[in-house]
Amino acid sequence: MADLLNLKEWVAVLGQLLMFALAAPMLVAWVKRVKCVLQNRKGPSLLQPYRDLSKLLKKEVRVAHTASPLFRATPYLVFSAVLVAASTVPLLQVHLPTTALADVIVLVGFLALARFFLALAGMDVGTAFGGMGASREMLISALAEPAMLMAIFTLTMSAHSTNLSSVIQHVLDTGLLLRPSLLFALLALLLVAIAETGRIPVDNPATHLELTMVHEAMILEYSGRHLALMEWAAQIKLLLYGVLISNVFFPWGIAETATAPALAIGALAILAKLVTLGMVLAVSETLVAKMRLFRVPAFLNLAFLLGLLGMLSYVILETSL
């Protein structure tokens, strides 16, 4: 149970939130940069997403005549829901008071809340694009959510806890080696993360005004600071999945005590893990082509099966010992 009056812990939470918000554009820029190198192109600077965001924040907001108040409230709501979710994922240190406030199921719930409003905002203006994006997004998420929870259940059942700090501590204590259940859960979660953050092959973040778009179709009517918040929230979501996967499955280096050297090692470790993960994502996006929408269910079924295999191998191989 978190000690609510311990000011130091809350400073850590605030610091982590700021780090999530500030570092998120960098991860997107890094993935784009690596992709450009792989495709023999000269990529934009790593600071480009920051420049885009600050430009958007300065621009005037233009809202359609047909939009309702929900359209204007949604960017703030999506942004805060994603940040609440991000505040519960340990970034530098294992022990975070917010993991007791909201466990991993609540985290999934807040991401679902953000998606719910994103889809509604897409339908608000009353154009065909918005409805198209919303309908597809809800299909993808409906199939991704059980797969994600199946992978998470494997982890939480072996850790006997849904608290993310406890899960990471459990993985640290027992070690990753020779644990087939964790391996399957990792693969499942990687596939789900690709679908949920709208990356290739499920959705293409670089496309605009094409009939294949999902996320971009929903935010097509946004401009100015509203668009900045939506883009920023999407970047934070990508970072969130990256940190979740790296810290849960590869927790080495994460700070177990809140001392300065431990935190510095933790920061370096997570940086190295995210750089690697970003490179993996860039390579896979370069190798794989975008799928047709109706092949996405097969992709997510694979994720669910991997999660189920993880659960089976946990029950058969790891509990009977």
Partner: protein, 637 residues
């Protein structure tokens, strides 16, 4: 009607809430004998924690509906339907439900149960001039009687072993496992039929939508809970100590109902039919939690069994709140636009801002999103299922997480369904003249909607208070109080232990509001605060019109295609003389063809055989009577 019946309803509801709350909090057990019934079968009633909880639930929904009903029934005053009938049968219906939860004997229970079923039949067929309403009423009446018969047989088994119809006698009886399982199966069939479990749900999506909306709210929000109460009372109180095999049955039936219910809800275009199918889903979730509870108590984990049980009760309370809210919201839309078809709505949020806001809160709750109430009960169900590692059997250890994944799929499709409902009906642009002319509903209706959505928020933010209140029921039925769930103060919900899982709904809600406030404060203060209004993006082809928007049919298309094997889908495009293509889509419940119609044909065929007895000759009839009498005499002697 408005002057007499509704104030009486309100008074009865206030008494029900006060009595129910007092019984629940003080854990009373009051008994009385009513001057009804037969000399050797006194009509006993009893108010204990369990009946108190359900009495409170009935009273609370009724009370909030009494603010809604006066304005809503006003339009029936000029119609051809009889308002005294509506008011009278509503009163009898409410009395029947309250008597069911208070009954302390099988006799009183069955009479009240039938009063509830029959009076609601007349409410379903209130607008009987429409043939589909009469058909829905007939199916309802038929299935209610089959279900009632099954419950009666279940009580019969109990009475045979308990030597009496009073619940005390049944409680004292010890049944052999086989007979206990038979009694449980009969009760599950009977109560499950009333609750709308798969595959005996067919009446529900027919009957609930055609009643007036506040009656639909009472039927979906409250009457289904009375069926849940019946099963609880029968299985946990009278039979006692459920076996784990019953838990498996409940879990599987619940999971099937939840998934099928939500998939069918996704396919509907009629707003009230969609909500009715969503009731099948939510009842499925309640039965899943009950199944988990039975599984854990049958395998010797009383604490975990209590968590599952509390999750089921909590979801019953939540469903009563948000489903009533949604049906009343649908009624408000019907009142304002006279439309039930989603594809004729659109843009209602800007015309009915308050109704729109409250229905939005209902949609968030029913989609099990934090920080609203639907999330808390699903979270508790997940937490129960995740304790599967304590099971000894490997098959059960696998089964539980898989059903939890089914629950996750159900929740995600429910979110898609309610994005569809809200996005098509309330957002975008009006698709018909009726929707364009919709106006906000009167204050009474808005007040009722607002109170229901406030209840949804409060039940979501303060779960610990609710759970400590539910401790009385679990103490009575399972001898467990779930003290550890609320041991860390009102901020923390820790169902198993603080190490296993904790959720602090008030703090999370405050944190989300705080971040929102900061983001809005920082960004709105900038140099460019002004917002310019313009036309939506038109790809350079001129303003898109309202017909280019996605429709409810279009929104569900990807889902329909992915799950196409589960439905009977018929799509066709025909061109008429003017070469205008016409798209028709029909979706049927496959169970209707594979389950109900064969049974119907069987009944028809056997009726044709039996009709041979009816020769029209009086002497043969007398012969049959004599033969029956002789056989009966032989049986008795």
């Amino acid at each position: 009607m408005r002057v007499v019946v509704i104030p009486l309803m309100a008074i009865s509801a206030v008494f029900a809430v006060v009595a129910g709350f007092a019984a629940l909090q003080q854990e009373l057990s009051l008994t009385a004998t009513l001057p009804l019934g037969l000399p050797w079968l006194p009509w006993q009633i009893r108010l204990d924690s369990t009946s108190g909880f359900f009495l409170m639930l009935i009273g609370l929904v009724t009370l909030l509906i009494t603010f809604y009903a006066p304005a809503y029934v006003r339009e029936f005053e000029s119609g051809q339907d009889s308002l005294p009938a509506l008011g009278g049968f509503t009163g009898i219906f409410l009395a029947g439900m309250q008597m069911v939860v208070l009954a302390d004997g099988a006799f009183a229970f069955m009479v009240s149960w039938e009063v509830m079923s029959l009076s609601s039949y007349f409410l379903v067929t209130f607008q009987h001039e429409k043939p589909e309403n009469r058909r829905a009423g007939f199916i309802y009446l038929l299935m209610a009687h089959v279900g009632g018969l099954s419950i009666l047989l279940g009580f019969g088994v109990m009475a045979a072993f308990g030597h009496g119809f009073a619940f005390d006698a049944m409680r004292a009886a010890t049944l052999p496992t086989t007979w206990a399982s038979i009694a449980f199966a009969l009760a599950l069939f009977g109560f499950g039929m009333k609750a709308g479990l798969l595959p005996i749900h067919a009446w529900l999506p027919e009957a609930h939508p055609v009643a007036p909306s506040h009656i639909s709210a009472l039927m979906s929000g409250v009457m289904l809970k009375v069926a849940v109460y019946g099963l609880l009372r029968f299985t946990w109180d009278l039979l006692g100590n459920p076996l784990w095999q019953w838990g498996v049955v409940l879990l599987l039936v619940g999971a099937a109902s939840a998934l099928a219910g939500v998939l069918f809800a996704m396919m509907q275009q009629d707003i009230k039919r969609l909500l009715a199918y969503s009731s099948v889903e939510n009842i499925g979730i309640i039965f899943m939690a009950l199944g988990l509870s039975a599984l854990f108590s049958g395998t010797g984990h009383p604490v975990l069994a209590t968590i599952g049980f509390v999750a089921a009760l909590y979801h019953a309370l939540n469903h009563a709140m948000f489903k009533s809210l949604m049906f009343l919201g649908a009624g408000a839309v019907l009142h304002a636009s006279h439309e039930r078809n989603l594809d004729q709505m659109g843009g209602l949020l800007r015309r009915m801002p308050w109704t729109g806001l409250f229905v939005l809160l209902g949609c968030i709750s029913i989609s099990a999103l934090p920080p609203f109430n639907g999330f808390v009960s699903e979270w508790l169900t997940f937490q129960t299922a995740l304790q599967a590692w304590t099971m000894d059997s490997g098959i059960l250890r696998i089964l539980l997480p898989v059903t939890a994944a089914v629950l996750a799929l159900t929740g995600a499709i429910a979110a898609a369904t309610f994005v569809k409902l809200y996005g098509i009906a309330f957002l975008g642009r009006a698709r018909s003249r009726h929707a364009r002319r919709a106006r906000e509903v009167p204050f009474g209706m808005r007040f009722s909607l607002g109170s229901f959505s406030l209840m949804c928020l409060l039940l979501g933010i303060f779960p610990t208070q609710v759970i400590s209140l539910l401790g009385g029921i679990t103490n009575q039925l399972m001898g467990q109080r779930l003290a550890q769930a609320t041991a860390h103060g009102w901020l923390w919900l820790t169902p198993v232990s603080a190490e296993t899982a904790s959720y602090s709904a008030p703090l999370v809600f405050a944190g989300a509001l705080g971040i929102w406030w900061i983001a809005q404060g920082l960004l709105r203060r900038g140099r460019v605060r002004k917002i310019r209004r313009g036309d939506p993006w038109d790809c350079g082809f001129g303003m898109p019109d309202a017909r280019m928007q996605y429709t409810a049919v279009a929104f569900a298309q990807p889902m329909r295609r992915v799950f196409s094997t589960l439905f009977d889908v018929k799509e066709s495009i025909e061109q008429d003389k003017a070469e205008i293509p016409r798209y028709t889509l029909t979706i049927h419940d496959p169970l209707w063809y594979r389950f109900y119609l064969p049974i119907g044909r069987l009944v028809d065929a056997s009726a044709r055989r039996i009709v041979r007895l009816q020769s029209g000759n009086v002497r043969i009839y007398l012969g049959w009577s004599l033969a029956t009498l002789v056989i009966l005499l032989w049986l008795i002697s």
